[in-house]
Symmetry: C3
Amino acid sequence: APGSVLPVNGLRILPEVADALAAGRPVVALESTIIAHGLPRPDNLRIAREIEGRVRAAGAVPATIAVVHGRPSIGLDAETLEFVAGSREVLKAGIRDLAPVAARGGHAATTVGATAHLAYQAGIRVFATGGLGGVHRQARDSWDESADLVALTGCGLTVVCSGVKSILDVGATLERLESLNVTVLGFGTHAFPGFYLADSGHRLEWRVDTADEVADVVRAHEALGLGRSAVVVANPVPRGDQMDPGLHDRVLERALAALADSGVRGKAVTPFLLEFFHRETRGASLAANIALILGNADLAARIARALTIT
Amino acid sequence: APGSVLPVNGLRILPEVADALAAGRPVVALESTIIAHGLPRPDNLRIAREIEGRVRAAGAVPATIAVVHGRPSIGLDAETLEFVAGSREVLKAGIRDLAPVAARGGHAATTVGATAHLAYQAGIRVFATGGLGGVHRQARDSWDESADLVALTGCGLTVVCSGVKSILDVGATLERLESLNVTVLGFGTHAFPGFYLADSGHRLEWRVDTADEVADVVRAHEALGLGRSAVVVANPVPRGDQMDPGLHDRVLERALAALADSGVRGKAVTPFLLEFFHRETRGASLAANIALILGNADLAARIARALTIT
Amino acid sequence: APGSVLPVNGLRILPEVADALAAGRPVVALESTIIAHGLPRPDNLRIAREIEGRVRAAGAVPATIAVVHGRPSIGLDAETLEFVAGSREVLKAGIRDLAPVAARGGHAATTVGATAHLAYQAGIRVFATGGLGGVHRQARDSWDESADLVALTGCGLTVVCSGVKSILDVGATLERLESLNVTVLGFGTHAFPGFYLADSGHRLEWRVDTADEVADVVRAHEALGLGRSAVVVANPVPRGDQMDPGLHDRVLERALAALADSGVRGKAVTPFLLEFFHRETRGASLAANIALILGNADLAARIARALTIT
Ligand SMILES: [Mn+2]
Ligand SMILES: [Mn+2]
Ligand SMILES: [Mn+2]
């Protein structure tokens, strides 16, 4: 029946997604934090649909992930997507929040880490997002490092992103990924992307140029007994869609100052800074954000397709 | 025969505990470091028995864990408990010390991490302790972070504690727990407990109010494929039993200064500071310490019972 | 046929090694980074052969590990060893580089972490190297910590080394090993070795004095459910072969200054500093380096033999 669901080890999997997984057809996981907490309303719902459409256009089935009425849901029907985009009751859940939210029957958008975990549990092999969490600039004192990083060591899928948000300590984040033995591939570049900017100023050792090349690395990764750990594909925002670098740097400086003044902490930091950027750049950061996530959705779908060829 | 034991994959399990585990009856693991190195003698033996008694009174079987004559022992008979409380030959073993102690036939009290590991190996689902180890205040320079934290990521049981000892950097410890994706639930509170004090000044996102609620979260945790990682239940010392906060802060400041002067390092740090507190507060910290561990034993037993209901 | 290989889950295993593993005879893994990037040419080839010879002389089969033509190779025939020692095309691969190198059919010497991973996948139980990677001296700011450390938590073999290179922050590295629950045993000493020096100035809790004693600890480690994590055996360079401590400290200071001036970063740091030492000590550091790796090869072979006795 339409809207019905298939329970698989605690997960609610949308029939279209379950069918694709059963048949070995390409599926791309998408996170919901960007929808519920990363983009301004009401545009967020339209953009969420556009992201899913981009996955479809590239030949894969989108599976947006969120917790709804306590059920981790792999793929959202139209009504549920609307609910996640519109409700004020939708929390933000990392991996460690999944069980409390589920136990009380709550709703939550999922972070990169939580989405990766649930997608991996569901058997999805590719995940598209905007930017990874990372080491915060004050982490020397605060110890604030995103749970996404350790999460990547236990979720064996390919994560397509545009680097980490520039509000973080990018260099320290790259070092942590190295310490955690997480493979990072630059897509079409040796420059680690800077989220709103194509180049963060940090170099990557490994460059790949096609989805097939990514699939080859993923297959080698699994054959080598590394399949419990993620492969990160760092895909820059198209040059034409990036923010003006000078504007970016000026706004970033002011955003960090505003953050320090605000007393905002923990999970509220990233939404605060994204909103500051959106407001102060009069939408230029938002345009870049949308362009990069659409690009990542497209690339993820192509990688998912390449992985279905054996 | 009385005192006989059942060997299970290298572990010596007391028959009463083995029977309870086989029958699916509630069992609570208890650590021995508090007995051998955390409480003054000869009171420690009496208190150890009181802790076990509190578990029994709440309807569960206590399993105090230690390494005796090289054998990791899950549940100690009366004579062995007396030995652990009284002998000067009982070392302090973290996870990484278990094999060396076992190989040479030595004796050791087990830390939170080592107790959690052995309890998990034995199939015990709930563990009561005083306070977790954590990030030390000088960790920016020394890199000194308790092995308990990473241990929690590989031991899938429920750990009931009263926060972390206030001699640590509590905020950094909470951040590390977040980075490691460890779920932390406040019991009856959104305030993270401060060991001797009910409130450390740090907030928790998740509050639960009953043992049944904890059990619901644990079942969701396992259903979501997170069962290899611990769930921490942070249970404050009863308000009436906490130390006077002003006294606490004054003694803490002096204790840290004394530690810096003493040159004491590594595993000896926590016993040094606990003893300083006991001495300088004329027993007020000891009273709080006993009250909190008894409270945790009681709550752990109630959670273990709630988990047996399916 | 001579030079033929046996494919085992993506690995190419030299027949002599495969036969020994199948028959339960002792095998010692050896890393190739020291050959390709750690020792000056053309001495490196001779020394690589000497290391293998030392393993054989002590009764075990050597398995030098590298990636050749994209295939992770466990044991190298004479021709391949010569290629790894002589080619300029041989990269340096940590665990996260294995899949990219394999996917493009490249060549790479393997770091401690990558060698440990591949050896563990192949079923080898003992590995001899020079020094572990660790926490860098600037890690407070740079977050630069070797991927070897976390790698040890997922590779359940015995790693024989002479501590960590003195260019690192040795104390912080030991703390990190403790936080990660990695067992460290001093061989014949309670002093943690200082690579070129027998004593780094840091104490170890556990001392063992024979290969049989190490094997007892390893068997206890496995019986206790800790078999996914490595046991580190820290074996000092023989006192007679160590560098003059005064010379060591003077050169170290200058080497660190030269590093800061050079702008060298990442994977190139260790080769830069080793070469600086070799040049400035007129070979004294090289002599110590060779002596310690030969000693470790010998001890590893004796441990591998002790482990075959059940
Ligand atoms: Mn954070
Ligand atoms: Mn410590
Ligand atoms: Mn590094």
